[in-house]
Amino acid sequence: MTPPVLEVKDLVKAFPVGGFLDRLQVGKGSLLAPQRQLRAVNGVSLTIAPGEVFALVGESGCGKSTVAKTIARIYEPTSGEIRIDGEDVSRLPFRAMLPVRRKLQMIFQDPYASLDPRQRVRDIVMEPRLAQGGRLSRRELQDEAVALLAKVGLNAEQANRYPHQFSGGQRQRIGIARALSVRPTLIIADEPVSALDVSIQAQILNLMKDLRDEFRLSYLFVSHDLSVAHHIADRIGVMYLGFMVETASRDQLFREPKHPYTRVLLSAAPTLDKSNPGTKIEIRGEVPSALRLPSGCCFRTRCPLAFDRCAVERPALKPQADGSAVACHLHDRTDTERMIP
């Protein structure tokens, strides 16, 4: 069996927050400034096989982008392992990451913000390639840039233009071409179609599928849109408050969602295929703060099925018989009396 392209184990990312003065407290007769932490990602594990598309879904603030950026080492992981082609890169210093970046590239939601406005498109798309070292003549550079742009549906004449001369969809194509320049095996895409109109979104999703087939790419595809995730993904991970609450194949997840949060999420999403909002599962309250995680299960403050154990014990992501994995005491096989109806 080929090793996974990406293997993430128990990834934790905490951000220190607040100024020193904000944190000052009087304790035991002296001033203390305890470290406050925002726990954005709390022990996330996932694996992506060669050629596989893994979608990370969940509502805003649940930690999807932080997972993506920590894997890309834009953020330093607080703890945990990140293996690319078997090699643990989680502690590699910046310079040692260079060869890893040949395998892993990232594209972002906002094509406007992620392209340098003063550079010509041909230089933008070749930038990761040039960072890898090795000298290219002007001619080679131009030819490679044009070839890359052709792959994403842009023409040679457009190579000499600047980003502002392109529409949102075209800029996303440029971002994809840039990522492809080093022929990576894994592309991390953070909400790549969320800012686009649906007709343009369809163009980009089709392009990403074609490129995956042509280059046998794997994607870690972050999306808050379940229909988009369903369309592109082979497997899906659902996050809530920095925790992975369920992972499953696309079909499993939509046919038989197991985690109570997954059920809420699927039922809340508007679709063209059901016209009765009355059938949606009601959910109370709001997502707790990542500064003060609840004890036990992250979802228990809103879960319609929570019981006493949920407040005291944090459920681990447990593999299920059908290949999915769920972090919920109701799906803990040692607890057979209680099963979700």
């Binding site: 509502e59 805003s60 529409s167 969809g169 109109d197 649906v198 007709s199 343009i200 979104q201 369809a202 163009q203 999703l205 089709n206 599928k209 808050h224 379940l226 229909s227 988009v228 369903h230 369309h231 939509f254 809420v264 999420l265 039922s267 809340a268 999403a269 508007p270 679709t271 063209l272 295929d273 059901k274 016209s275 009765n276 909002p277 009355g278 949606k280 009601e282 959910i283 709001e286």
Partner: protein
């Protein structure tokens, strides 16, 4: 059938910019009846928001309503003065925007802002007003309403603020609510709650709503009827179920086919080729012709007019689609 509450007739709102005249809304007509939600949909730049702003009298230079009528309960809003419109806004017609802070004042408590609405529109005394505010907050799903009245908008989450804006609109007893992408910035679970709340309030109070959104899935769950805009023109309108199941305009069809659907997964999405044209340079003919799979030479020559196609559907197309179109 009851008279429409709102009739928009051949509305034209243009922006006179240095780059040319932007015909943002160019001959738009539709009705809204009591108890009904009408959806305005289409891709960005189609003119949806400008229609909403025109109804509210919120078009500022270089923009201008060039022509058309906006009949609200029989009165032409397009002919009213700014002062008259100020009392219509927030009174008979309320608005809910994507960013709730557009409608809330950050320096006053939520209770103060709700109370002001009641002072303006009712003759209840202080105590009765406070009770009414608490009741309304509870109706829009805000718990511990009594204590929340003394909180400021920044102490609320985005979803809660949007609830407050809706509560204020309901307190004013508005007969028409214009909601412009009201849930676009919210998470799906919150969106589901807010949509349900708005739908229930509209139906129960016999009010009406214009729901402006780019999201056809939201429209399909919320709206009774749909108006599809493209380049400032109505390309199709009709009952929601008919439009979603068998649209007659190629643009509506293209939009629907480009949306990934969970119930029927296709390997590739159908895409509408190209992009929206620059509306400053549109000439005669159909604005959609360069992207249309049905286009014929006549589409570049003659501008199609909105006319009945089948069932409740009207479309502006020389070659509308059959119900069983492939």
């Amino acid at each position: 059938m009851a008279d429409p509450l709102l009739e928009v007739r051949d509305l034209r709102t243009y922006f006179h910019t240095f780059g040319g005249v932007v015909k943002a809304v160019d001959g738009v007509s539709f009705d809204v009846r009591q108890g009904e939600v009408v959806g305005l949909v289409g891709e960005s730049g189609g003119g949806k928001s400008v229609v909403g702003f025109s109804i509210l009298g919120l078009i500022d230079p270089p923009g201008r309503i060039e022509a058309g009528e906006i009949l609200f309960a029989g009165e032409n809003l397009a002919a009213k003065s700014e002062e008259e419109m100020r009392s219509v806004r927030g009174g008979e017609i309320a608005m809910v925007f994507q960013d709730p802070m557009t409608s809330l004042n950050p320096v006053y408590t939520v209770g103060h802002q709700m109370d002001e609405m009641l002072r303006l529109h009712t003759d209840l005394d202080r105590k009765a007003r406070r009770a009414r505010c608490v009741e309304m907050l509870e109706q829009v799903g805000i718990s511990e309403a009594e204590s929340r009245l003394d909180a400021y908008p920044h102490q609320f989450s985005g979803g809660m603020r949007q609830r407050v804006v809706i509560a204020i609109a309901l307190l004013a007893g508005s007969r028409l609510i214009i909601a412009d992408e009201p849930t676009t910035a919210l998470d799906v679970t919150v969106q589901a709650q807010i949509l349900k709340l708005m739908r229930r309030q509209i139906v129960e109070r016999g009010a009406a709503m214009i729901m402006v959104t780019h999201d056809l899935a939201v429209i399909s769950e919320m709206a009774d009827r749909v108006v599809v805009l493209y380049c400032g023109k109505v390309v199709e309108r009709g009952r929601t179920a008919e439009i979603i199941n068998a649209p007659s305009h190629p643009y509506t069809r293209g939009l629907l086919d480009s949306i990934p659907r969970i119930a029927e997964r296709r390997d590739r999405l159908d895409q509408i080729p190209g992009t929206v044209p620059d509306i400053r340079t549109l000439g005669k003919g159909c604005s959609f012709r360069d992207r249309c799979f049905r286009a014929q030479p006549v589409c570049a020559e003659k501008t199609p007019v909105l006319s009945p196609v089948r069932g409740s559907l009207d479309a502006a197309c020389h070659f509308p689609l059959e119900e069983t179109a492939p």
